[in-house]
Structures are given as C-alpha cells and as structure tokens.
C-alpha cells in the first residue's frame, strides 16, 4: 500500500512538473502583458492595459488578424470537407491501392514545415499563385486535411456498419442516407475538425511566412515585431492568440470526448 501511495505521489509531482514546464512561459508572457515595465524583469512594475491598447490601435495588427481569421475559417471549411470525403471513402469502399491512398492522405504532417513552405512557395510562384491570401489558404488546406480526416475517420469507426444499410433498407437513397445518417452521426467530429483545423491554420507560421507575400498573418506579424524591437506588446498578442487557439482546441476535444462516451453505450 505504502509503495503504491508513493508511486501515486511521485507520478502526480511528475505531471505537475510537466505542466509547469509547458505552461510557465505562457503564464509568464500572460503576466508580463499586464506589466508596465518595458523589459520583463522582476520585481514587476504596476498593472497596465497599455500594451493591449497599443496593439488595439495598430492597423497592421488588425490587418494581420483579418488575414488570419479569413484564412482560418476558409481553411477549416475546405479541409474538413476534403477530410470528410477521404474518411468516408476509407469507411465505405475497398479498392486496389487503398493503403497507398491512405498513406498519401496522411502524409503532409510528416514533411518538415520549412521544406513544405519552400516547396509551396516554389510551386505557387511558378504557376503565378504566390503572394495572395488564397496562397496561404491552399498551403494550409494541404496541411490541415490530414487532421480533419483523422478525426472524422475515428468517429466513423465507431459507427455500426449496418446503420447505413438500415437507412437504405428503410427507403433512403444513397444521397439521403449521407444527409440523414452519415452527416448527423459524424457531426460532433465535423465540428471538432472545424475547430482544430482553424486553430492549426491560425497558429501556423513557417508556411504562411513563405507564401503570404504582403498578406501578413498574425504569426508573421509577431515575428516582424520581434525582429524590430523587444516590446511587451508581443506578450499581449501572444496571450490573445493563445486564448483563441485554446478555445478552439478545447472545444474540439470536449466534443470528441462526450460523444465517444455516448457512443460506447449504444
């Protein structure tokens, strides 16, 4: 018993340390974003919203937010749609070369981002599509689709395969079965995938930096500010971006968890 207890305590401490290690820089950044001192030093100065005001009044930041926002929303919709189609193909059909098809569909995240960004830049500028907002969208869709597919595929795997046939049996055509059975069943995964792909796109820097041209996204503008000077507004932007991403990721996770619990009892 005592041995078990000490193991439990040890593991708790270990988990606590891991969380500290991961979140300490973010928490520090959060705290310094409200600090009046120009440099992050201790003891702290007084509380201020000055840095938030600065970024609020900076039109460049607003432009970047707009670029990132539009990109994230568009990317999440397109990537989720393609991901859904890929996952459904995998669920429904058996065909020659299916493993190769799946490997290809899941490949993009294994490519280093810098290589991917460079390749995208080379390719898009060759066909004259570099430097636009849609260039970022194209690049991000390529990156995000595998995530969308993985999430939706997981949900489809929980589905009783006779559910689809049951709908046909009750008079539903294949299209109506899609709309009335497959989509409602996978809806939690679809919403979750929209959130997660939006978060991935919103945070992504390397590829966006290569292909964005004059359309700077939020991560790109952060780097530009950093290159110029060390400025606590970075902390303010960082906190803001962190909150957006975390909201999306947590929403996605909660949706997936509650639904899969429910599915187990069916």
């Amino acid at each position: 018993m005592t041995a078990d207890r000490s193991i439990v305590i040890f593991l708790r401490i270990y988990i606590g340390l891991v969380f500290c290690f991961v979140f300490a820089p973010i928490v520090a950044s959060f705290i310094f974003s409200f600090n009046s001192d120009r440099f992050p030093t201790i003891p702290l100065g007084h509380f201020t919203l000055h840095w938030y005001q600065t970024i609020y009044n900076d039109p460049d930041i607003w432009d970047a937010l707009q670029v990132s926002g539009i990109t994230a929303v568009t990317v999440s919709v397109i990537a989720t749609f393609i991901g859904f189609c890929t996952a459904y193909t995998d669920f429904r059909y058996k065909f020659f070369g299916k493993n190769a098809y799946l490997a290809l569909a899941l490949l993009p995240p294994t490519i280093p981002l810098v290589i991917m960004g460079l390749a995208m830049l080379a390719w898009l500028s060759r066909i004259g599509m570099s430097g636009h907002l849609y260039s970022i969208v194209i690049a991000h869709v390529v990156m995000c689709t595998p995530f969308a597919m993985a999430i939706i595929r997981l949900r489809l795997a929980q589905m009783d395969p006779s559910l689809e046939a049951a709908a046909w049996n009750l008079g539903a055509s294949e299209w109506r079965t899609m709309g009335n059975v497959i989509v409602p069943f996978t809806l939690p995964a679809i919403v979750s995938s929209l959130c997660l792909t939006a978060a991935v796109s919103f945070d992504e820097f390397a590829v966006a930096w290569f292909v964005s041209g004059l359309n700077k996204s939020v991560p790109v503008i952060i780097l530009e500010i950093l290159q110029g000077q060390v400025d606590p507004q970075i902390n303010a932007i960082g906190t803001f971006v962190f909150i957006i991403s975390m909201t999306l990721v947590v929403t996605a996770q909660v949706l997936l968890m509650t639904r899969s619990k429910k599915a187990e009892t069916v």
Partner: protein, 367 residues
Amino acid sequence: MSEPLVVFENVVKRFGDFTAVKHLNLTINKGEFLAIMGPSGCGKTTSLRMLAGLDRPTEGEIRLSGLRMNEVKPSERDTPLVWQTLALFPFLNVQKNVEFGLKMRGFDAVARATKAKEWLERLEIAEFAHRDITQLSGGQRQRVALARALVTEPEILLLDEPLSALDANLVIRMQSVLTKLQRELGITFVYVTHSQSEAFAMADRVVIMSQGEIEQIGRPREIYREPVSRFVAEFVGRNNILTGAVTGSADGKLTVSSDAGPCTAPVPEGRTFAKGDQVSLVISADVIAATTTKPASENVIACSLISEEFVGSMVTLFLETDNGTELKAQIQHRDIEQIDTTSGARLYLSWPTANVHVLPGPNQENP
C-alpha cells in the same frame, strides 16, 4: 392461402472463391411465418440480405410478388429488416427513429407523427417516444426496431437473429410479441436464426440450411420427428442417434445391431434394406420411457444415470450404456418420482418401435 410472395430460383451467391449460397430454390408464401435456421456460415443471413437487396445474387433470380428483384436497389424495395445489431439511429430519439422510413417515403410531419404514435402504442413503448435510444433497455430497443420496420406497413418483414442479444426470459416474451404481431397483421415474416427453440416456437415452416444448401423444409413437427438427414437430426438436438447394421427384416420391421444394443425399427416407406446395411436410428428424447424394472418392450437398453436437468415441466436424464454410448431421455416431472435418480442408478430405457426414424448410412455428410 399458399399464394407465393417470394421466390428464390436457382440463386447462387459467391464472395470471391467462397460460395455462400448454392442453388437455392425456395418459395415463401403470403402470410406465413418462415424461419431459416442453420449453423453460422450456412448462408441463411446472405439469403436474407439478398432478399433485402443488400447483396446481389451471382446467379439465379429472386422474385417478389412476381417481379424480378435482382437489380432493384434496397431503397426501392419494401422489405424492411430488423437487424441483429438493431441498427437504431443513435442521434435520433425513439419517435424520430420510427418516423425515418415514413420521412424517406415523403410523408408530411403530421402524418409521420400520427403513424409513429400508433405503432409505438401498439408495441407498448409510447411513453418512451421522446427518449434517446441510449436510455432504453434491450427489450425496449427491440420494440423500437420492430416499430421502425413495420411503420410503412410492408407485405413482408425480414428478421436477422433479432433476439440473440436478449436474456432468456425476454426472448420468450418477445417471441410471443412477434407471433401475435404476425397473426394480427397477416404479413409474411422471414426469420433467420441459429436457435432451434426460437424457430420451432414461432414458425409455420422451418428451412434448415447447411453449407449454402437447404437440408430440409417442413413444419417444425415434421423436422423434429422425421429429419431427412443425420445433419438435421443432430442440429435439431433433443435426439438420440444410434448407428448400426441391419441384422434382419421381417413384417415391416428391421432388426438392427446398434452401438447401444439390439433394437427394432419400422422399415421406411418405399425403402428396402439388406442384411449388413448401415443405418442411423433417430429416437427423440421425449418418446423414451425410463423405468427401474425391465419392461416388456421390443427396445430395451440398460443404462446408468449420469445426471438430470430440469427445464419447465420436463426433466432430461443423461444416461450411459454399458459400452459407453450416451443417451438422453426426456420425461414428465411427475414421472420422476417413480424412479431412482441417484447418480449411477441402473435404469431401463424403452421406446415404441413406431417412434424410431430410420436414416440410411451411418455418417452421410458433414464432417
């Protein structure tokens, strides 16, 4: 009465190299309760799926009300199926599940709700109309699945082992629900099962399948009393099967030296046996009497009791002859008082010659 509704004509279904159904010829009549029974992999479920359009026959033709169905899509047939897994839609509540078939057939919301309510009441689940599927018990889900399939008022209902997930008491209750429904609606039920008790309790006719072929079709009593093959006799259970060689034939009776001892059997109509022919004798457990003293009968075998098993008003005795052949006897509860039932007790088993069913050959088929 016996107007054909479904006809399978020389239907073959292959999956790659595997032939699931071999030259199936079967006519299902309007208004009958037909059970298709057999061990797993015998092709019973495949036959049912072909009827629903979920698998397409490789060869042959399936006709429903005289029309060729081979190329008709499942959604364009009116052959609702109650699934083994039930396949209820987990994202819809009970009422919406029942309404699904009506929605797909273009009924408006008011008509859907009225009809669904009618069926929920009929199956005594109206109080759960707005519950989630996950909040129902196994028996309640079963009723939802039935209501969902029947709501479009089809001419035929297909059932694929729908009771296999329920506990024994519930199975008995659902059996009476099903038979009652079938009688009241007067529609055809095709019920696939591996359970002999389910098939025999409900069906008008039973089809026994093995390895993609029909072994026997008949009323439950016929299949039970007069199995056409050793496979059927064994599959049906409750039977004792003795094998042996014919030692003589006179006055319409065969004398056989069986593995349990000498016995007599009636000569099956239109058959002749020569001395030395191998035969199997099927003696159902409930025609056998067990007594403490040796009775005057043509068929008497001395055995020792191994164990007994009580099921309802019947007791099944498991016994062993002196050379190790195992036998079963099923007797009434009240008769058991008159015999010694301690383990190892000596008992005499006897049965009337007329109740013995003779099959040619010792092991016809089925390894």
